[in-house]
């Protein structure tokens, strides 16, 4: 086949490079300049005491992660609720399986003491 058929790909690559490059250069020009004072955290006029980059307990991340997982999974329930009437028995069964899986996961992390603050 003709090589010319690959022209769109070439154009696509070129475009991708151009856009990426443009964004980087622009932000370099436009972005605010940093100075030492500007970088200081603003604490209502009171000078900051401790460095901002301190370590958090790993439990923050764990809890946050678990929240996201369950939150997104439960978000699935909203669309299902709208069509539950049309889906009939099958839809209900599928939903029950889905909810069961989530509950199972909840029980699991509960038993694993992942929700307890240490």
């Amino acid at each position: 086949m003709e090589l010319s058929a690959y022209l769109p790909i070439l154009v696509f690559f070129a475009l991708g490079l151009a856009v990426g490059g443009a964004i980087l250069t622009l932000s370099k020009i436009v972005r605010p300049k940093h100075t030492l004072v500007k970088d200081l955290p603003y604490e209502s006029g009171i000078l900051g005491g401790t460095p901002a980059r301190q370590r958090f307990s790993i439990d923050f991340y764990l809890t946050a992660m678990l929240f996201i997982v369950f939150d997104i999974e439960l978000a699935f329930l909203y669309p299902v609720a709208l069509t539950l009437r049309d889906d009939g028995l099958l839809g209900l069964v599928v939903l029950i399986v889905f909810v069961f899986t989530i509950v199972e996961a909840l029980v699991y992390i509960w038993k694993k003491k992942a929700l307890e603050w240490r």
Partner: protein, 485 residues
């Protein structure tokens, strides 16, 4: 909803349910349930799924409106995954990761198997990708299961990062394929691309390239193999065994499903790229394995080389090729499991049990294990008339018949080189002298489940050679099912 036909998907459902159940078993306070429950449930699930596979054996049936296909191909591949999982659960009986976290271990293995079965039986691109992600995520965790061991964590992390890249490339390929054809259904894609109108379409070409790369990553083909030695070495050994057998089988299943099953008419376009990957894998895998002192790393490179051999069958682009790949996957399962079993047994006995020097004189002290290891190594090297030889013979002759004699030659030369390191292992095991004294240090009794798994795998190496004919027949049935309307 008329095509629900849940029956055809029962093996997958059983395995997934068993996985969830097995994981919960690990939560019980009673030690016995925590210790034996997960394995028992998993094994029961495996047996039940196996029975369903036997019952379903036959022509194609579809479940969930075509999303899941149950044909001879998917059923046979599922059987491979199940056997692999059963052996791994047996082998890991006393492995530290598996003992302390038995629930997670067995549960995740089962979830991974469910993902693999989805890959093998996928009827559309979405299910295929779903399957690949299911198995990958389960494996990321499994690799890092020994959280107290730095190497294990590193292994899981590396696999996660590179795996994410691999998956995204694959997904990009699927997206382009969808873009080119406007459908995710594999059968419809096949129909659309069967004609000539789409064949030279850049979109399709790009899609194929991306898919080759994405799947090549999962099969650990060169140059997408870099993660393999590190991950294989760091992961718990039973998981390494599982990854190098079942995961590889799943990746090859995806290769066959897409290229042989959906795009056979475009073989002229994709076979060369796959052949190049095969050659690169054979060369790099075999040569790099020569310099390894850790058995796990050596087997990791050996598994890279075997990905190459297997890809030869895919590149042949014929029913014989697919048949050879399937048969070799079965054989490869038996011999690799045996090889890893020996490492697992030794690792429990001494520190650094995966290093070559830990095996000095080991076969003399443990002749039965020694014979099993010898069978596995010789078979891996393709020594006639063991099963590995028959498998390679089928693969290479498929290449010759597809007029790719050069591939067969590279493969054959590769297996000569591979003798260098397989013989080295055998030499050390039979002829080596242990560093301290006459007998190798610390021989412990081997737990019965480990012994049973090892024995089964070792006997299978002989059985697959003696009864090659029926196995090849079954493989051919599976290969033909790929193209069945």
């Amino acid at each position: 909803m008329t095509h629900l036909n849940v029956v055809a998907a029962t093996p997958q459902i059983i395995v997934a349910a068993a996985g969830v159940l097995a994981m919960s078993m690990g939560l019980f306070n009673r030690y016995e349930i925590r210790r034996y429950g997960p394995s028992a449930i998993s094994l029961a699930g495996i047996v039940a799924a196996f029975v369903m596979i036997v019952l379903l054996w036959g022509d194609r049936e579809e479940a969930f409106g075509g999303g899941i296909r149950s044909d001879r191909f998917s059923l046979l591949l599922s059987a491979i995954f199940l056997v692999s999982a059963a052996l791994v659960i047996g082998l890991a009986w006393r492995e530290s990761a598996a003992v302390d976290r038995r629930g997670e271990f067995a549960g995740l293995v089962m979830v991974a198997v469910a993902g693999m079965m989805l890959v093998a039986s996928a009827g559309d691109l979405i299910v295929l990708f779903l399957g690949i992600e299911t198995l990958s995520v389960a494996l990321y965790v499994l690799c890092a299961l020994e959280v107290w061991r730095e190497r294990s964590l590193e292994s899981g992390l590396k696999y996660l990062i590179t795996g994410a890249v691999g998956s995204s490339i694959l997904l990009y390929g699927f997206a382009l394929l969808f873009g080119a054809t406007g459908t995710v259904d594999l059968a419809e894609i096949g129909e659309q691309l069967g004609g000539t109108s789409f064949a030279g379409e850049p979109l399709v070409i790009a899609a194929m390239a991306l898919i080759v790369v994405g799947l090549g990553f999962k099969a650990s083909a060169v140059p997408f193999h870099m993660w393999t030695p590190d991950v294989y070495e760091g992961a718990p050994t039973s998981i390494t065994a599982f990854m190098s057998t079942a995961t590889k089988a799943a990746a090859l299943a995806a290769f066959l499903r897409i290229f042989q099953g959906v795009l056979p008419d475009l073989a002229g376009d994709w076979r060369v790229a796959i052949a190049v990957l095969a050659v690169a894998s054979i060369v790099v895998g075999n040569v790099a394995a020569l310099a390894q002192d850790s058995l796990k790393r050596m087997l990791a490179y050996s598994s890279i080389a075997h990905a190459g051999y297997l890809l030869i069958g895919v590149a042949a682009g014929s029913v014989q090729g697919a048949e050879a790949v399937i048969y070799y996957l079965i054989v490869y399962l038996a011999m690799t499991m045996t090889a890893f079993a020996v490492v697992i047994i030794r690792e429990r006995e001494v520190e650094n049990g995966e290093m070559l020097e830990a095996f000095a004189g080991y076969a003399r002290a443990r002749p039965v294990l020694g014979v099993a290891a010898t069978l596995a190594m010789l078979s891996l090297a393709g020594f006639p008339p063991l099963a590995g030889f028959i498998g390679k013979f089928l693969l290479f002759s498929a290449a010759v018949e597809a007029n790719m004699t050069w591939l067969a030659i590279v493969g054959a030369l590769g297996s000569v080189v591979s003798l260098g390191y397989y013989l080295r292992i055998l030499g050390v095991m039979w002829l080596g002298t242990p560093a301290d004294g006459e007998r190798p240090a610390r021989l412990l009794a081997v737990p019965a489940p480990v012994m049973m798994a090892t024995g089964t795998a070792a006997i299978a190496i002989i059985g697959l050679a003696l009864f090659a004919d029926p196995m090849i027949d079954i493989s051919r049935g599976a290969a033909e099912a790929l193209l069945a309307p």
